[in-house]
């Protein structure tokens, strides 16, 4: 049983990674760690997509394509986040998320 790797193994892995990412978003104190956690969530999603891309009956490999877009967009999102974070940082000189709650 364990030697036979099915799609469920991948899905479980993806789910665990996603949940870990979610927990990370919620508990992290540092902005950068939050961003990393978001990337974890996206990675989990990507594993899901790739697994489905391989394992389901879709011959167009939509899952792969979707995963590619996800990777790219995730990176862009991270870049924007860092940009805005840096702009904020210049005002406040702190990287703790708790300190960014003035509005």
């Amino acid at each position: 049983m364990l030697s036979n790797i099915t799609i469920y193994h991948y899905l479980l892995l993806a789910f665990i990674l996603f949940m870990t990412g979610l927990c990370g978003v919620v508990v992290s104190k540092n902005v950068i760690k939050i961003l990393i956690s978001i990337e974890f969530m996206l990675t989990g999603v990507n594993i899901n997509f790739t697994a489905f891309g391989l394992y389901c009956k879709n011959l167009a490999f939509d899952g792969y394509i979707f995963a590619l877009f996800c990777i790219a967009i995730g990176a862009v999102e991270l870049a924007i986040a860092l940009y805005i974070f840096y702009a904020m940082y210049r005002e406040k000189q702190t990287s703790e998320i708790e300190d960014y709650g003035d509005v």
Partner: protein, 478 residues
């Protein structure tokens, strides 16, 4: 392909051309080479954007109804057309109102236009997208540009608002993607039509509902639906009004349009999903209305109102029927115009005050302006003469049509309208001039604001008094 071009892509191409032109123009700083006048770059880029948006509106209207392109990944129906035009109109108005924003950021005027046009492009593409990938990318285009637009004004608060919007969106998009991946696994397809076709023939288990809910979370977070609604207050508060005008309407139009399509196709076969959406809508409306009661800051009140209105629409959408969809679209149209009116008034005030509280609302005493504002607020409150009244009647009627089961929901909805009335009246009360010294701002006024506001009030009034033509049109959509 040529036919495709004319039927679907011409609006996009108009916008894309404008984006490219703006980028080149701005990045190379051509304006400073050609013109010496300080504000001329703002004028030029405004003009280009306006022309492109008007062209896009024109092309959208000219496109044929009912067309699908790119292997059914993009489609065009009358409803989509209407919503696209609505989005473009919001873009147009936003461009007209941007003086305050750009005055402080003269250098980044082109940046503003590129981002605005990109988000418009993303928005209209998202409305007509027929598969999840296109939808995902266009939604991201919309929100990425919005991150920048929110963070664009100088100062810390706008940055924080942008950052919060970003984090919320990133998490919600992750949920959305997870859901989409599950749907992909279940149906082996990303295309809405195919998914609907497959789901009709297959049994839907808990995984399906969970996946749909995750997709919905991704979408509803943009609407500020209850458990994910708190961001809306912080973000609106830190947002500049012309951007807010955009933020409070465009994502709403897009997401409602998408949800209508999803529910009418793929996801309408799950009672659980509809129930959850209904519950979320009700909770949102309660949360927003109650939160707004004690609020004194107009932007925060508008944030709550925005969430509450999204809640009403979601409630009606959950009892999905063709009539309900038409009613929601009608309501959405009314709401958009009202919202634009209100934010243009706030824009007028924001010239003088950064933090708009209720007692500062009356700083401008011009009578037609005040009356226009009052008409718009009446529209939000759903009192007659303004379009919100007709919209609410349509919403309720569609609930009734879906069966007597929804009578309690209808009554709850009514209760919500009443609670909402309380803070809308506070707004109206705020507009009545007190005996305070009126301090006019140092800046020259944006000449577009007052005409825009009056126009919105007139539209609201006309839609309120004679809703029939538009309503009839909306009924034909489905």
């Amino acid at each position: 392909m040529v036919k495709d071009l004319f039927n679907i892509f011409m609006p996009y191409i108009a916008l894309v051309l404008a984006i490219i032109f703006q980028t080149i123009f701005g990045m190379l700083r051509l304006h400073s080479l050609v013109f010496k006048y300080k504000d001329i770059n703002i004028v030029i880029s405004n003009t280009i954007s306006l022309i492109s948006i008007v062209a896009a509106i024109f092309f959208t209207l000219a496109a044929s109804n009912n067309y699908a392109g790119l292997n059914y990944s993009i489609i065009m129906t009358p409803a989509i057309k209407a919503l696209s035009v609505l989005v473009l109109i919001v873009g147009l108005i936003t461009v007209l109102l941007n003086t305050n924003l750009l005055r402080e950021n003269r250098q980044s005027s082109y940046k503003y236009h590129v981002l605005l046009l990109t988000s418009l492009l993303g928005a209209i593409l998202a409305i007509s997208a027929n598969d999840f990938l296109t939808l995902f990318v266009s939604l991201e285009a919309l929100s990425f540009s919005l991150y920048f637009l929110i963070a664009l004004p100088k100062g810390y608060t706008s940055k924080e608002a942008g950052f919060k919007y970003l984090i919320t969106n990133a998490v919600s998009v992750s949920f959305f993607l997870f859901g989409v991946s599950c749907i992909l696994g279940l149906t082996s397809s990303l295309n809405f039509s195919e998914i609907a076709h497959i789901l009709q023939s297959e049994h839907n288990g808990i995984i399906y509902t969970a996946a749909s809910i995750m997709i919905m979370i991704g979408l509803l977070m943009k609407l500020a639906i209850f458990p994910f609604a708190n961001w809306v207050i912080d973000v609106y508060n830190g947002c500049e009004t012309s951007v807010l005008n955009f933020l409070s309407t465009v994502p709403k139009i897009v997401v409602i349009g998408v949800i209508i399509r999803l529910l009418s196709g793929a996801a309408s076969y799950s009672v659980e999903l509809n129930t959850i959406i209904l519950l979320l809508g009700l909770m949102t409306a309660f949360w927003a209305n109650i939160y707004a009661l004690k609020e004194n800051n107009v932007k925060k009140i508008m944030a709550c109102s925005s969430a509450a209105n999204a809640g009403y629409m979601i409630i009606v959408l959950s009892v999905f029927s063709a009539f309900a969809a038409s009613a929601v679209i009608f309501y959405l149209i009314c709401y958009t115009f009202i919202n634009m009116g209100i934010f243009s008034y706030l824009n007028l005030i924001e010239q003088d005050y950064k933090n708009i509280t209720l007692d500062k609302l009356s700083s401008n005493t011009s009578i037609p302006i005040s009356i226009s504002f009052v008409i718009c607020v009446l529209g939000l409150a759903g009192l007659p003469v303004a379009s919100g009244f007709a919209g609410k009647i349509f919403l309720l009627y569609s609930m009734l049509q879906s069966g007597l089961v929804f009578l309690p929901v209808m009554l709850l909805l009514l209760l919500l309208f009443v609670i909402a009335l309380y803070y809308y009246i506070k707004l109206i009360r705020g507009i009545i001039p007190q005996n305070t010294n009126i301090t006019k701002g140092v800046y020259p006024q944006n000449p577009f604001i007052e005409p825009v506001l009056c126009m919105m009030a007139i539209i609201t009034f006309i839609l309120g008094v004679m809703p029939f033509s538009l309503a009839a049109r909306c009924l034909l959509f489905f």
